[in-house]
Structure formats: structure tokens, C-alpha cells
């Protein structure tokens, strides 16, 4: 077998935080990519998979570890690697053709050659008639086709795709996926290998030959799976379904907030909260309690019914588990007695139950309430809590956690919050 295209050894990405341990986003990641394969980096948001893609593309340099491209160390954007962006990243003031020619122009390809190659790429991707249009005239799907053409026109050996279909609606995304796979299977794509980031399990199983499953906090490659099916693949094939189910099970099994974890003696503030709203939680619990689930559901099936991707559903499930309203187990989710009680309560009853839950299971909420009660003026600055949270998690996580706890606390009437002064208070509480 010939030499690998891309090799990543012991890659680590950490953000330095003064006076405290580094915040590790990626830890000890190894990856080898050979010609002729499509590989997916699959994981939850915050698992560092996008960071890894940026390291591979040369946009970001890792804190530690080596990345080599065709045996040479990656020190910046390399020739032979092209990228497709989640947000398309098209230049609104350039026409479709000018956008596509951009990478060629940067290489100093002559005008005639540039135009010819751009035309070919546009024809290949089905955009022949749009050359002189501006991106804003196109729909999302068409824009991402431009993004693809722009990457393909430089004949890259490696095509990087950062959640390329996640900004598109379901049908458009599916068309684009199948078009791309058809071109790949027919050998019409001028690329040797593809590395794509996704949080959509079915997408990974549908398109890729190999899946690297990422775990979060810090990001690591938790497991590696080979997808044995030949193209074109059938989503309804039982073997396909089984693989999707297995991946769901793997992902829920390795969640960091298992019931035991909260009881272990970690710092009360070292618990990041995900931005999940009350209505979403209530909605999911109600759906679970009602038929056909009657309290227990298979996650992939539930995701399909609700049109949720794993990235939406897992944080929700995990949050319910954290609050003891539900339990995640082997790709299933089921309601606890408390969850059922919540569903059956009226508006005020739900609020009281939620307040109790917050005080027992969310140390941060309990702490805010206690501090407020101790203060003579019943006021406390949010900045102080954010600073303390940042000692235990990244600033982004800390901000999310704080926003979440503010929303929950307001709903439960555990405390009030004044956005203008960034202060917690007890003004509205009885």
C-alpha cells in the first residue's frame, strides 16, 4: 500500500488559562488518512472535531503533536488541501465564477486556464448556468455547490468538509450528499481522499468508509468504525440501521455525566450545563410520557420522528438525566418517576418541582441562592460566578452554563436577574 496522505500524531490542542490547568480541547489524537477513502470525524459539538479539521487544514497550529502532509510538516495552508465550509464562506461581491476562480488566482494560474477549469468545475457540480450570478441570488443548496466547486477546481488531493450540509434543509442536504457520493463512486471527483466533520450519524454511515467517533471534554478519538457497505447505500437496509443504532449506543454510553459522576467528590462548580431551555425539556418529557413511547424510547427512532440530529437530542437527554427526570441507557431514553410527576403537574406544580430539583442537583443554582440569602441586600454580581466557573471550564462553557442557570433559576423563581447590572437578586421571590 502506498504512503499515507495525511498523518496526525499525538495532537493536542489546549487553551492556556492563567493560574489554572490548561483547558484541553483535543487530547492525544492520532489519525492516518490514505488515498481513496472518505473519513468522518463524528462527535458532539465541543468534541474538538472542527478544531482537528482546522489543524489539518493548516488554519490552526496544534499546541503539541505533529501533522504531516505527504511526509512534510503542516505549517500553514498546504497546496493540495481544499476546504468546504459549513457557512459556505462565499464572497458576496464576487460572482459564482469569480468565487470558484479564487483559489486558482492565488496560485497564479493564467486567466484562460482559470476560466476553463472554473467552467469545468461548475459543469461537474451542476452549476453551469449560474456562472455570472452573485451568491445572494442563489439558494442555500446552490451556494454550497459553489463552495464545493471552489474547492474542487484546485484539484485537491484532500478535500476537507466542515459540516457541509448542516446549514441546509433535510431534502437539499440529501440531494447534495447523494450527488457527491455518485461523483465519488464514478471517480469523477478530482480528489484522492475526503475528510469530513459531521454530527449527523446517518450522514456519516451513508457517505464514509471509516468513522472516527469523538468523545467530549477533552476531545479524543473514542472509537474507530469501518463502514463495510458498498455505494450506493440504502438507509433502510437492516444492517445500515443496526450500525446507526450501535453508534447511538456508543455515544450515549460514553457521556461524561453518568449518574455516578455527580455524586463523586468533584467541585460543585465543575459541572458545565448545556443550553437547554425549559420548554424543550418539558416538550420531550411530554412526548416520552405519551404513546407510542409510554415512557421509553429508542434514541434513533425518536430523533427521526422529531427531526432532531444527535447534536440536538443528546444534550437534551443528558440534561434530563442530570436533573434526574430521565435516564439514558444503551441508545434508549426512559422517564423516571420524577419525570412522570413533572409531566402530570400543573404549571405551578412544575415550577415547584423544578425549583426543588435545581437546589438538590445543580450545585451552582443552589450556591447562587445561598449567597443571595446571606447577603444583606440580596444581590450578587454574576461576574463573580462566571470567574469561578472559568476556573473549571473554558470561557465559552462558563458563559453557556451561566446563561442556562439564569434561565432555569428565573423559571423556578429561585432567584431573579437584572441584565443591565448583571446582578442576581431576590426581588421577585416570595
Amino acid at each position: 500500500m502506498d504512503a499515507p496522505l495525511l498523518e496526525v500524531f499525538g495532537c493536542r490542542q489546549a487553551y492556556h488559562k492563567e493560574a489554572n490547568a490548561d483547558l484541553v480541547v483535543l487530547d492525544d489524537v492520532n489519525l492516518t488518512l490514505r488515498e481513496g477513502e472518505i473519513v468522518a470525524l463524528l462527535g458532539r459539538s465541543g468534541s474538538g472535531k472542527s478544531t482537528l479539521l482546522r489543524i489539518v487544514s493548516g488554519l490552526l497550529s496544534p499546541t503539541a503533536g505533529q501533522v504531516s502532509w505527504r511526509g512534510e510538516p503542516v505549517v500553514g495552508p498546504m497546496e493540495g488541501i481544499a476546504m468546504v465550509f459549513q457557512s459556505f464562506a462565499l464572497f458576496p461581491w464576487l460572482t459564482v465564477k469569480e468565487n470558484v476562480e479564487l483559489g486558482l488566482e492565488a496560485r497564479g494560474v493564467s486567466r484562460v486556464e482559470r476560466e476553463k477549469r472554473a467552467e469545468d468545475a461548475l459543469d461537474l457540480i451542476g452549476l453551469g448556468g449560474f456562472a455570472s450570478a452573485y451568491p445572494k441570488e442563489l439558494s442555500g443548496g446552490m451556494r454550497q455547490r459553489v463552495g464545493l466547486a471552489r474547492a474542487l477546481v484546485v484539484y485537491p488531493d484532500l478535500l476537507l468538509m466542515d459540516e457541509p450540509f448542516s446549514a441546509l434543509d433535510v431534502l437539499t442536504a440529501e440531494t447534495l450528499r447523494t450527488d457527491l457520493i455518485d461523483l465519488w463512486a464514478e471517480g469523477k471527483l478530482p480528489v484522492k481522499s475526503v475528510l469530513m466533520v459531521t454530527h449527523n450519524i446517518e450522514e456519516a454511515v451513508l457517505m464514509c468508509d471509516r468513522i472516527l467517533l469523538f468523545s467530549s471534554n477533552p476531545g479524543r478519538v473514542a472509537s474507530e468504525l469501518k463502514v463495510p457497505f458498498p455505494h450506493p447505500r440504502n438507509r433502510l437496509d437492516p444492517a445500515f440501521r443496526q450500525m446507526v443504532d450501535d453508534i447511538y449506543a456508543l455515544m450515549t454510553r460514553r457521556t461524561p455525566t453518568e449518574p455516578k459522576a455527580a455524586e463523586s467528590p468533584v467541585h460543585p462548580l465543575a459541572m458545565p450545563l448545556q443550553r437547554v431551555g425549559i420548554n424543550l425539556m418539558a416538550g420531550l418529557m411530554e412526548a416520552l410520557a405519551a404513546p407510542p413511547y409510554d415512557g421509553r424510547a429508542d434514541l434513533p427512532a425518536l430523533a427521526a420522528t422529531l427531526h432532531y440530529e444527535v447534536d440536538d437530542l443528546l444534550p437534551l437527554g443528558e440534561t434530563l438525566q442530570l436533573l434526574r427526570f430521565a435516564v439514558l441507557e444503551e441508545g434508549d431514553i426512559y422517564l423516571t418517576d420524577k419525570g412522570r410527576a413533572f409531566v402530570q403537574s400543573d404549571v405551578d406544580g412544575r415550577r415547584v418541582l423544578f425549583a426543588e430539583t435545581l437546589r438538590t442537583h445543580v450545585p451552582l443554582a443552589n450556591m447562587i441562592r445561598q449567597v443571595l440569602e446571606e447577603r444583606w441586600n440580596h444581590r450578587a454580581s454574576a461576574v463573580r460566578f462566571r470567574d469561578e466557573l472559568e476556573d473549571h471550564m473554558s470561557p465559552d462553557y462558563a458563559a453557556d452554563t451561566l446563561r442556562t442557570v439564569i434561565g432555569w433559576g428565573r423559571y423556578a423563581e429561585l432567584f431573579g436577574y437584572d441584565e443591565e447590572t448583571e446582578q442576581f437578586n431576590l426581588d421577585d421571590q416570595e
Binding site: F88, A89, P92, W93, K136
Partner: protein, 574 residues
């Protein structure tokens, strides 16, 4: 449209049509005039007719062209400044530490107060030549234009969308290509808008800076401003009316020929992914597009510019990962250096002033500053009470808003100092209190900023919110307080900041006005600076300008900045 299908037509493309003849005549006319005027700037100051102003209305077109030319030279200088200073500030964190606060201060300093220094400086640079005076005037205009343009450039460069930046880097664009393909286009809409604002402000300064007197010397550069000044000395009312008419024509022309097409063209660089409703193209742009020769010339220039921006110039070894980590020590040294420079220049100014003046002078200047402050505050309140209701009324009626918007912009561009003599005549005739009646002059030119911002705000007020207010029968005072005023507040603040800044500047020319031998002086810091300038009393000018800058800066920090921040945080829709 497909380029290939157009290929057979290409041969016909180069035959000139009627529009080309019109356009070519315009181009040659302009070139001839510019050459003629250009010759005038290289004569000696004492040459016959070099600085003589004739009140013959037939000379006005020539004066108007000279004034306009000064404007555009200053504009070119401002653009150069914008591309260097603004870019440097945005690209280097260390440079921005000093460049940005400096820009902030320069923006709020009353530029007219500096006229004295710059005239002396440029006269010494080209002794006895008209060129020195020209440069002084151009510099005065430049100082009224450059800062906000540079600031807009800086802000655009700092807010280039991250994904486009990543795309540019990952496709290995060289820094030069990245600048011209990504950063400059992204900055264009803001830059065009700010250039337009700058030009509006510039007319005021060109009028004020053409007739300059320092100490015993008075120089008059041929131009509309000098014409007005001359008419004032000679008490020639018809001449003033002629000057106003000429100015109207000039501003209308530059608005129609230059800025309408420019704004329409810049719309394509606006960073939005949805295609909104686009206004129809202004006639000038359509004319350019209709001409064959001009258009192919334009295409040629466009291609050349594109090739220029696409050059693979690179000042390093290709795109590299940027790591901006300066050692703590070097940052410390840099900080100390900057602070040292600051203290040193303050000390220089202080010793210069202290050599001739003492503390009571500072007290006097501060007191006068308060008088002017009271004027500014009262004017802002009155202008707001008048223009906010009118602006809201106009803005909520799209048909009216469309007409009012360009009119208000036009009025803002019109140099209000042309109207000063009219006021003087009225005040003298009725024997009015000058401390009160000279005051409105300060806001004459700047009140329009409030109007057109409020119109824009009201026009952008969401229809569903208006319907909601209607359906709940919210009316009368409650409607103003809870619905429309919060809705237009961010727009109003933007306008009010510009208007109040303009007021301070205008104070220098508005608190002292004359009509022949009659001189009207109001009490205030503006009059203090203006009179010191006329006497050639440099120490007092420095003191006056310093005190005024302090007032403006404090006013901005304590009132406008917090209000603006509040409006951005709380009252921005969506």
C-alpha cells in the same frame, strides 16, 4: 447570462454611440478646467490677481470649480490616509494601542481652531507662494474628512467575517490578494457612506478656510468661501445670494454625478446573504452603462484593477499561521514609550501656554466653555424637539420618506456658513440680543443629521410592532414614550452625536460674525478662539482649543458613549 452567447456582439461594442459623445465632452471639459486651475496654484502670492476676489457673479463658476477641486484633492489625501492609517491600526495590535485613541481624540477636536497653526506651517513651507495657502486650505478640509473615514476602515477590517477569512487563508491567498479581494470590498459600503458624510462636512470647512486671517495678514484664495467673505466685507447682499445659488448647483452636481452612482455601486459589496429590495439605479450610473466607449473603458480599468489586486505579492514566505504573542517585556517597553511621548507633548503644550498665560486665563476659557456648552445643550434639545416629530411623521410615510431623505442629506451637505450674513442683517436690523440670536447659527448646518437619521429609523420601524401598538390602542403620549421613541433611539443617537460634534466646531465661526464694519460677538469659547486667531495670539488659541477639546471629550464620554452603548444593547431591534 452566458458570456459565450455575447461573443458575436463584441465587434459592435466599440462603436461609439450618442451617449459616448456626451460623456466624452464632459470628460474633456473637466480635464481642460483642471489644467487651467492647476496653473493658478503655482503663482506667487503677490502676483496680480492671485488672491484678489472679484464680486462679479460671472467669476463664480471659476471660483466654484476651484473650491470643488480643493475638496477632491483633500478627499484623495483622506483616502490615502484611510488606507494606510486605518489598515495599520487594524493589522497591528501594538500600533492600534496608540493609533486608535489618537483617532478618537482627533475626531472630537474642533479642527477650525487649528487653522492658524497649519496656515503658518504651510506658508513657511512655500514662502510667498499661493501653493502654501492652497495646501493650508486643503489640509483644513482633510482634517475634517479623514478621521471618520479611517475609523470606518479600521472597524470594517476588524469585523471581517471569520469564515471568509478562513476561506481566504485556506485557499492560500497572499496578504496582498487577501487585502484587495476580501478586506477592501468588505470595507467599501462603510467607506462610501463615511466619505459622503465627510464631503458634507468638508464644504463647511472649505468655505471657512479659504479666507484666512492670521494677525495682520488676510489672505483670500479664489473660491466660493472667499467670495462670501469679500461680499460680507463689502456688504453686497446680491453677491451672497449668487454664491448660495452657485453652491446649490455645485452640491447638486457632485451628489448626482458622484455619490448617487457610488452608493448604488457600493451596494453590491454589502455583506448580506439575502437579496433585499434594491432601489433603481441612479441616472448617472445608467448613463455610464449605456455608453459604449466609456463602459469598455470602465471594463478595462476594472480588469486592470482586478489584476492589480490579484497580484501574488507577498511580504513573507506565503501564508503562515499568525501567532501574535508579544513578550510581556516588549509590551511594557512599548507602553512606557507611548506614555512618555504623551506626557512630553502635554508638557510642551503646557509650557508654551504657560509662558504667556496664567491660571486666571484657564478659568476664563473654562467659563466661556461652559457658556458654549449651555448653547450646545439648548440647541440639541430644541433641534430634537423640532426634528424628531417631523422625522417620525416623514419616516412612517414611505412616499414622503423617500423624498425627505435625500433632501435632508443635501441640506446637511450645504455649508451653513453661507447663510450667516443673512442672520447678521436681521440681528443688526432688529437690534436683537447677540448672545441668544447668534446661537442658532451653530446648529444651522448640523440639525439635518438628526432629521435624516430619525427618518431612517422611523422608516425601518417594523410594521408588526406598529400594528401591535395600534391593535392595543396605544396612542398619544404613551405611543411616543413606549413605542416610537425607543424604536428610533439608536438612529437618533447616531444623528445627535454627529450634530453635537458639528455644533462645537461651528461655534468657532458662529460666535463671531461680521457684516461690513458691523461685528457681532457672542460670549463663548468659540468667539474666544476666533478672536485670538485674528490677533495672532497663539497661546490663547492653544488654550482655547485645548479647553474645547476637553469639553467635547468629556461630553462624549459622559453623555454620548453611555447613551450609545445603552441604545445598542437595549433598543436595537432583532
Amino acid at each position: 447570462m452566458n458570456t459565450r452567447s455575447l461573443a458575436p456582439l463584441a465587434a459592435e461594442r466599440h462603436i461609439p454611440n450618442v451617449w459616448d459623445i456626451v460623456a466624452i465632452l464632459c470628460v474633456f471639459g473637466t480635464l481642460a478646467t483642471v489644467t487651467h486651475i492647476g496653473r493658478g496654484t503655482f503663482v506667487r502670492i503677490d502676483a496680480p490677481g492671485a488672491t484678489e476676489i472679484s464680486l462679479d457673479p460671472w467669476r463664480l463658476p471659476e471660483y466654484a470649480v476651484r473650491t470643488t477641486l480643493r475638496m477632491f484633492v483633500a478627499l484623495a489625501a483622506s483616502l490615502v490616509f484611510t488606507f494606510t492609517y486605518g489598515t495599520a491600526a487594524a493589522k497591528s495590535r501594538r500600533a492600534s494601542l496608540i493609533l486608535i485613541p489618537l483617532l478618537d481624540i482627533l475626531q472630537s477636536v474642533p479642527i477650525l481652531g487649528f487653522l492658524t497653526f497649519t496656515v503658518v506651517f504651510f506658508m513657511n513651507l512655500f514662502p510667498g507662494q499661493v501653493l502654501g495657502l492652497e495646501l493650508a486650505s486643503i489640509f483644513a478640509i482633510f482634517t475634517s474628512q479623514a478621521w471618520n473615514m479611517a475609523f470606518s476602515m479600521y472597524q470594517s477590517l476588524r469585523t471581517v467575517p471569520a469564515d471568509l477569512l478562513e476561506a481566504a487563508i485556506s485557499f492560500r491567498l497572499s496578504p496582498w490578494q487577501k487585502f484587495w479581494r476580501l478586506e477592501v470590498p468588505f470595507a467599501v459600503p462603510g467607506l462610501v457612506w463615511n466619505t459622503m458624510m465627510s464631503m458634507s462636512g468638508g464644504w463647511f470647512f472649505v468655505v471657512a478656510s479659504e479666507a484666512i486671517s492670521v494677525g495682520d495678514n488676510t489672505w483670500k484664495l479664489p473660491g466660493i468661501g472667499s467670495y462670501i467673505a469679500q461680499a460680507q466685507t463689502e456688504r453686497d447682499l446680491p453677491a451672497i445670494v449668487w454664491a448660495i445659488v452657485t453652491m446649490l448647483v455645485v452640491i447638486l452636481a457632485y451628489d448626482q454625478f458622484l455619490f448617487r452612482p457610488l452608493v448604488a455601486w457600493s451596494a453590491r459589496f454589502r455583506f448580506e446573504t439575502t437579496s433585499g429590495a434594491t432601489a433603481s439605479d441612479p441616472w448617472m450610473l445608467r448613463l455610464i452603462r449605456r455608453t459604449r466607449l466609456l463602459r469598455s473603458l470602465g471594463d478595462y480599468i476594472g480588469r486592470a484593477a482586478s489584476a492589480f489586486g490579484g497580484l501574488r505579492l507577498s511580504f513573507g514566505s506565503g501564508p503562515r499561521l499568525r501567532r501574535e504573542s508579544h513578550s510581556r517585556m516588549s509590551s511594557l517597553i512599548w507602553g512606557t514609550l507611548v506614555c512618555g511621548l504623551l506626557v512630553w507633548s502635554c508638557w510642551q503644550a503646557f509650557t508654551f501656554v504657560a509662558a504667556e498665560l496664567s491660571w486666571p486665563d484657564l478659568g476664563e476659557a473654562s467659563l466661556l466653555g461652559f457658556v458654549t456648552l449651555v448653547r450646545v445643550v439648548v440647541l440639541m434639545v430644541i433641534a430634537s424637539l423640532i426634528w424628531v416629530p417631523i422625522g417620525v411623521w416623514l419616516g412612517l410615510r414611505p412616499a414622503w420618506a423617500r423624498r425627505a431623505q435625500p433632501l435632508a442629506q443635501f441640506l446637511a451637505a450645504f455649508p451653513a456658513n453661507l447663510f450667516f450674513p443673512m442672520f447678521v442683517i436681521v440681528i443688526v436690523h432688529f437690534g436683537l440680543n447677540r448672545d441668544i440670536w447668534l446661537t442658532p447659527l451653530m446648529v444651522l448646518g448640523t440639525q439635518w443629521y438628526i432629521l435624516f437619521n430619525v427618518v431612517a429609523g422611523a422608516a425601518a420601524f417594523p410594521g408588526d410592532l406598529r400594528e401591535a401598538a395600534n391593535s392595543f390602542h396605544v396612542g398619544g403620549f404613551l405611543w411616543w414614550r413606549k413605542v416610537i421613541v425607543p424604536g428610533i433611539f439608536p438612529y437618533y443617537i447616531t444623528g445627535a452625536i454627529t450634530a453635537s460634534g458639528g455644533c462645537w466646531n461651528a461655534a468657532i465661526v458662529a460666535e463671531v460674525v461680521s457684516w461690513g464694519d458691523t461685528r457681532l460677538v457672542a460670549h463663548g469659547l468659540g468667539a474666544y478662539i476666533a478672536e485670538a486667531t485674528e490677533r495672532g495670539d497663539m497661546a490663547r488659541v492653544v488654550l482655547g482649543v485645548a479647553v474645547m477639546s476637553a469639553f467635547v471629550l468629556t461630553f462624549n464620554r459622559l453623555l454620548w458613549h453611555p447613551l450609545y452603548a445603552y441604545a445598542r444593547r437595549r433598543l436595537t431591534l432583532g
